[in-house]
Every structure is written in structure tokens, then in C-alpha cells.
């Protein structure tokens, strides 16, 4: 019997656990380590953040689900990886530290035969002074708890608007290197929708601020779609929607500091600006969670396993090259660590070889460009590929058998722009592939038959359906494996 340890139980980690349990759960031991007691369907947090869903609607207890299927769940965080074991034993192991009430701070060693790092991001609010709900002046929708707090402050703002006051709401990214513009995009339109439903939209100034070079970049370098007899860049549609909803935008901006009621930001031309606000939701930049690694002698090899940003090296080509020489082939296929064959990283935890959007730097040397997205559909696809590869390696395969390159897979994004059964809308977008492949698709880097976008009520129905479907699936209810990931 082998033991597979999965660090992290978010979308990618839980997907690895689900599939491994189904494929090899009776023959092998599966251990899931997560500091969070609850699984969170993060895409719906934006609805918690505007008061249209509760925390319970988007989360469930992990322990009860894993108990039901006999997966060993430890509510703890990963501390260090020892891929060569130690001087006493060559068995690789991880050190974990419990966050479970009653066992907080206790450390434990867990040996593994295969390790999957699916730890997701550290929400790096500290990268921008004054950012974030804990020690700053802005709110967040990155966790269900953050979204609850965001809604409390939003409702207070709505009450003030109802009293006839005027307010400025600023939503977007809180650093020059943020990813996840999609969440902020959804949130700003849902806030707009809420204010319209409350009849106070005319009292509010809503401003988008982001590190994108153009609206609609989303960390993928933008996207072209065929619409109205033209092949048009998504920027056109993103700007159109902003104007239609009366939202102003600031782009090419790196938020440098947030004070109470005031955002300081730098733009690509090197100029510094200030933007006053009454309510602000800014996405933080992501970093790795800070796992350390040690070799057999106990020497620190963190720099060998991880890039400086804390994300784990996998089978990508990390050779530094100028933008013009980037290739689809740079992107990882199996997500196996190149040094230790029994070590994998999926979801946000793996280190991308480079950005997807073109790197941009301000006149003062500040990087202002979105980091690549690797959540949602791609993270589930790579999780399934890794689960199947581990299954095959357990059965004797010498190397991973499955691939899931982001340069070979598509992604669908359904971005809510207002929740209501009959008056709601969402922007539905698909891209194929996620990472442009200019060798295969010389004109736009993507297959124009598989890349499309539209906005409408159907998108809202789609988003609602996906919410219920994925939570059903994640709870591993009967027939979950029949549902697409």
C-alpha cells in the first residue's frame, strides 16, 4: 500500500483527492492536509460579497465528506517538504502543523510515496501598504469570510446612499502584479447591479482600477472573438460594458499604498496619482504559501524546489527569454517536479514559466502587468491529469502518463454581471487555448472557432447551474464523477 499526501483541499487539491479516491482509494492510502475546515466554491464568493448568498451557500465541512469516503483528513498546514527523508530514514516526508481547534500548533511528520502540492496562494496583502481587511483599509472577496465582511461594509455604503449621501466605490487590483482580475470584474458589476436594484446608483461613483494594459486582458493578454462581422478584441466589449453601466476605469496602474479613504497608485508613465474612496475591494497579489524544503542532511533546498515567489517548479521551461521568444512549449505538461519524480504541484501552487500578458514596467521600474490565471477549469484539468498519472505510476508506469498543458487546453469563464433569475446577466467567455499558441494559430494565438464571448441572462443561468453542480460534485454525492469538471 502506498500513501499519497495532498497538501491543500481547494479546487485543485480536492479534485486530486476525489479522483485518486475513486481510482485507487481501496488499494492505497490518501491523506489530505488543509488548514481550512471548509471547502469553498470561490467563484460564488462575489455573491456573498453583495449579500445575495450566505457563507453556508458557498462552503461545506471537509471533514465529514472525507470521513464518508475514508480519506484521512488533517486540518493542518504544510510546513516543510523533505523529499529525501532525513539521516535516519530515506522515506520522504512532510511536516505539518495543525490548525484544528484543540491541536493548534502541534507538528507532525507524515511519510509519503507521492506528494501533491495544491496549497493555492498566500493572499499577499502585505505587498501593498494598507491593503486588505485585516491590517488595511480595503475589503476582499478571496475567502467566504472576507466576502461576508465586504458585504457588511457594502450594505453600510448602500444605507448611506439611501440617506442621500454620495459615495465613491473603487474595485479592482491592489498591486502591480495581481492576477484574478475576473473576480474583481464580477464584483464591480454585481455591486453596480445591487445599487441599481436599491435605486441608489445615481448617488454612487464607481471606479475600476487594475494593472491591465487594456481592459479585458485578464492576465491572458486579452482575447479576440468573432462578433458582428468583425474579429474584435475583448477590450472593446469590456469598455462597452463599463460605459453602459456608468463605470469609470483606471488601467496600467499599480496600487502602491492605501490610506483610510485614499488610494495611491503609479501608472506606467511613472506618474503617481491619488484616488479617494469610501468603499474599496481590491484583490491582493498572490505568492506561494511559504513551504520550506530540506534535503537528507537537513540543508535548506527551498530554492531548488521553489521559485523566489514561492511557487513550486514543475516540468516547465523556466529559461528567461524576451516576450517575443516565449512559446506554448514553455508551459508544463505533467506538473511533475524535475528533481523528485514523486512530487507534483497543481493549481496556483505550480510556478508558471512566465507571464501570459506582455511584461510591462513603469518609468520608475515598477512591474505593472497581470500574472497568469491558473484557477477554475484549468486547475481541475491539471488535477485530474496528475491524479491519473499517479494512478498509473502506482501501477508501474515509470513516468507520468497524462498531460494537461495550459497551452493545449481551453477554459470557460462565466463572469456574473448581476444576479437575478430574470434580470440577471453574465459574460460567458471561452478561450482555446488559455496560453496563446502562435505556431498553431499565427493570427491571434487562439482557435477562433472555440474562442467566443457574449453577455446575457443565459450566462447567469449558466453560472447558477455551475454553482450547484460543482458543490454537488465536490460533496461527492451519487454520480459526481459523471459531471464535467
Amino acid at each position: 500500500m502506498s500513501r499519497i499526501v495532498i497538501l491543500g483541499a481547494g479546487i485543485s487539491g480536492h479534485t486530486v483527492a476525489r479522483y485518486l479516491h475513486r481510482m485507487v482509494g481501496k488499494q492505497h492510502e490518501i491523506v489530505v492536509v488543509s488548514p481550512n475546515a471548509k471547502w469553498n466554491w470561490i467563484p460564488s464568493n462575489i455573491w456573498v460579497g453583495v449579500g445575495q448568498m450566505s457563507e453556508d451557500d458557498v462552503t461545506f465541512d471537509l471533514a465529514s465528506v472525507y470521513k464518508k469516503i475514508d480519506v484521512d483528513f488533517r486540518q493542518a498546514k504544510g510546513v516543510s517538504i523533505h523529499p529525501e527523508g532525513d539521516t535516519v530514514s530515506a522515506a520522504p516526508y512532510v511536516t505539518i502543523e495543525y490548525t484544528l481547534p484543540g491541536k493548534e500548533g502541534q507538528q507532525e511528520r507524515i511519510n509519503y510515496d507521492y506528494l501533491v502540492n495544491a496549497t493555492g496562494p498566500k493572499l499577499n496583502f502585505g505587498a501593498t501598504e494598507g491593503l486588505g481587511p485585516d491590517h488595511g483599509h480595503t475589503v476582499s472577496v478571496c475567502t467566504a469570510q472576507h466576502a461576508l465582511e465586504a458585504n457588511e461594509k457594502l450594505q453600510a455604503t448602500v444605507d448611506a446612499l439611501k440617506r442621500g449621501e454620495t459615495k465613491t466605490l473603487v474595485i479592482g487590483t491592489g498591486h502591480g502584479m495581481c492576477t484574478c482580475q475576473g473576480a474583481a470584474f464580477e464584483y464591480i458589476y454585481n455591486v453596480d447591479h445591487i445599487l441599481r436594484e436599491a435605486g441608489v446608483r445615481d448617488k454612487a461613483r464607481i471606479v475600476w482600477i487594475s494593472n491591465e494594459y487594456e481592459l479585458g486582458d485578464f492576465g491572458m493578454g486579452g482575447v479576440h472573438i468573432t462578433r458582428g462581422g468583425y474579429i474584435t478584441n475583448g477590450k472593446t466589449f469590456a469598455e462597452s460594458l463599463m460605459v453602459e453601466r456608468g463605470i469609470e476605469w483606471v488601467i496600467r496602474a499599480a496600487v502602491k499604498k492605501v490610506e483610510a479613504g485614499k488610494i495611491h497608485y503609479e501608472t506606467l508613465d511613472g506618474e503617481m496619482h491619488e484616488l479617494e474612496f469610501d468603499f474599496s475591494m481590491l484583490i491582493p497579489p498572490f505568492a506561494g504559501v511559504g513551504l520550506k524544503a530540506y534535503n537528507k542532511a537537513g540543508e535548506d533546498i527551498t530554492g531548488d524546489l521553489f521559485l523566489a515567489n514561492g511557487f513550486m517548479k514543475v516540468d516547465a521551461d523556466y529559461t528567461a527569454r524576451p516576450y517575443a521568444e516565449w512559446s506554448a512549449e514553455d508551459w508544463p505538461k505533467t506538473y511533475q517536479n524535475p528533481t523528485y519524480g514523486n512530487l507534483f504541484a497543481v493549481g496556483i501552487a505550480f510556478a508558471p514559466p512566465h507571464l501570459i500578458s506582455k511584461p510591462m514596467t513603469s518609468a520608475n521600474g515598477t512591474p505593472i502587468n497581470p500574472a497568469p490565471p491558473r484557477t477554475g477549469m484549468p486547475s481541475a484539468a491539471m488535477a485530474i491529469a496528475v491524479a491519473k498519472s499517479i494512478r498509473d505510476m502506482l501501477n508501474g508506469a515509470a513516468k507520468p502518463t497524462q498531460t494537461a498543458s495550459m497551452a493545449k487546453m481551453g477554459a470557460a469563464c462565466v463572469a456574473s454581471t448581476g444576479s437575478h433569475l430574470l434580470r440577471g446577466t453574465a459574460a460567458t467567455m471561452t478561450v482555446f487555448p488559455v496560453v496563446p499558441d502562435y505556431d498553431k494559430y499565427p493570427e491571434y494565438g487562439r482557435d477562433m472557432n472555440l474562442t467566443f464571448g457574449e453577455i446575457g441572462l443565459a450566462g447567469h443561468w449558466m453560472k447558477s447551474m455551475l454553482h450547484h453542480t460543482f458543490i454537488y460534485q465536490a460533496k461527492m454525492k451519487p454520480g459526481w464523477w459523471l459531471l464535467p469538471d
Binding site: A381, G456, L457, P484
Partner: protein, 52 residues
């Protein structure tokens, strides 16, 4: 009768295309959106088929 202020050009909101009333109506027209729902599902299935 007072003269209306001229629409200010060269502003951020001046250039992007704006949806017509018909386009906005169709976005929430239940019958049309039911059709689009099916079309979007088929497009996503095609995307997933090509991704594997």
C-alpha cells in the same frame, strides 16, 4: 429654450460601442436566452472535447 451642453468628446466614455435598446432587450429576453443557454452549453462541451 436653454441650449443643451454639447456632449464632451475625447473622454473615456465617448468611444466604446454602446448596445442598442434591441441588444439590451435580447440580453434578458427569456425565449432568446433559453436558445443561447443551449448554444453556450454546446460550445462549452465542444471546448471540453477539444481540451482532452
Amino acid at each position: 429654450m436653454p441650449k443643451s451642453a454639447n456632449k464632451e468628446p475625447y473622454q473615456q466614455a465617448y468611444y466604446p460601442p454602446a448596445p442598442t435598446g434591441f441588444t439590451k432587450f435580447m440580453r434578458t429576453c427569456v425565449l432568446w436566452q433559453a436558445v443561447r443557454f443551449i448554444v453556450i452549453n454546446l460550445k462549452m462541451l465542444k471546448l471540453m472535447k477539444n481540451s482532452h
